[in-house]
Subunit: 291 residues, 2 copies
């Protein structure tokens, strides 16, 4: 942890170039400090901050990256309107005693002629991978680049993006990346809605509707607790919950193996439930273990 | 350099598991030594050994990897008959004071379920990329893995595989890999034939034919030196040289920009000539600057 902790809260050092980042990282390494990395797209909320707290607790030096990664957005997705709240983000990170923020411009990460990508592992194919072609290619590529730019000891991701965490974990394994991953629990609003930067898009009415996602997951867990194990019946009940809240544009509801994300016909203790649906034109995702 | 240098020549330490490799590498790193990496597929010749000598000269600790990378071979290529000469390789590496050899079995590098790949940069597309679909995907993936397994300061490659060096250099740049590359000159037999593990396949008669590749490159350089700059005329002369040596199965002859590998109509000082052709059923490649 930096001197920022000892003095009054001040904004963390922000670097925008890879060169400046390397200079700091090399100096931190040479002091033998452990580095924690929290990659974000900014628009920080309690979910991100829980990762930051974990990194600050476990590592000597915490680096948060803020970069809205264009290559993980599809052509019809919300890249241009994705919330950018850098000043507020920096205040929050200062309060959490983050040591360094890397907030590069797009050209620093994808200069003219950039053309090398990571083809993500097969677990990237179902669910989000099917609905968002190219999304995990973009995620895997930026995460690999960040891991190379910030040779951290531990990188922190949220369980909220469950499939993303699986994709990154498998990439780390397949490509022999020398980094440890920690996947931290989803942080929820009091009414159960999973924290997401995209929640800011919701109107008050949509915000109320949106609780149906976590409700449908809880309902699935309750059905399992009450003895139900037939996936089809659980999926049907989840769909009715979403629809009765007025959510009709459902991308997927799935009960799957927790590692392969293959659909499971019978719920077992490890089974995951995952849901993606539009509330108005805002696409939200959520998941939980239901076994 | 290891103790091997001080004592009688003894075979270098060989490790076959990623775990054993990491243990050694971490200890070398903690001593503050610089590490040189020479990735090979074995069947070592003077070309490889020139890379090894350069690494031993420049770095404190030299690691040579020997791994015939299956994913860079096409289904109709020579994976199964590719020469394996491990004992002789180890003797040569001992004579050159290599500190560590990493010679993993296939399963150690590509365990069951492996499914993450590098999509190589666009410079991988022409020439070899067109004739050997998937080749550079395999090369980029294994090289990235080796760079992660052996966090070396410098990695050594041969100019003989000119496009490969460009692909790796661009990958290193695009993915922000913290490693320096050195591309060393092609080593040739006295009659000009570029050293290659595949030269072992050649019969005596084919071996004599094979010199036509480097002859055609030299001829191009001589034409340029004599004032010729029209690519079409140079290419025609090169083709005739190959064909009059009995080489009729020509994959490509190209005069290109040295960075993009795009064909050039007029030769300039940086222009590269590249050739790929079959001598019998042995596919050989060669290149040189002709401007």
């Amino acid at each position: 942890m930096s001197d920022a902790q000892a003095s009054e809260i001040e904004k963390p050092k922000v670097v925008t170039s890879r060169y400046a980042l390397r200079v700091v990282v090399q100096s931190v390494h040479s002091e033998g400090k452990t580095i924690g990395l929290v990659p974000t797209m900014g628009a920080l909320h309690e979910g991100h901050l829980s990762l930051v707290r974990e990194s600050v607790r476990e590592c000597d030096f915490t680096i948060v990256t803020i970069f809205v990664n264009p290559i993980q957005f599809g052509p019809s997705e919300d890249l241009s309107r994705y919330p950018r709240t850098l000043d507020m983000d920096l205040e929050l990170l200062a309060e959490h005693h983050v040591d360094l923020v890397f907030a590069p411009p797009r050209q620093e990460i994808y200069p003219e002629g950039f053309s090398t990508y990571v083809t993500p592992p097969s677990v990237a194919e179902p669910l989000e991978g099917k609905r968002r072609p190219g999304h995990y290619r973009g995620v895997a590529t930026i995460v690999l680049k960040l891991f190379n730019l910030v040779p951290a000891h531990i990188a922190y991701f949220g369980q909220k993006d469950y499939q993303q965490a699986l994709v990154i974990r498998k990439m780390v394994c397949d490509l022999d990346l020398p980094i440890r991953l920690e996947v931290c629990p989803t942080v929820r609003e009091p009414d159960g809605l999973a924290m997401s930067s995209r929640n800011r898009y919701l109107t008050d009415a949509q915000r109320r509707q949106a609780t149906a996602l976590s409700q449908s997951l809880n309902q699935a867990a309750e059905m399992v607790a009450a003895g139900e194990s037939d996936s089809a019946r659980i999926l049907q009940a989840m769909r009715e919950t979403l629809e009765s809240a007025g959510i009709s544009r459902i991308d997927y509801i799935a009960l799957t193996d927790p590692e392969t994300l293959e659909d499971t016909a019978k719920v077992v203790p490890e089974t995951m439930a995952l849901v993606a649906a539009y509330v108005g034109d805002v696409r939200l995702i959520d998941n939980r273990r239901i076994g």
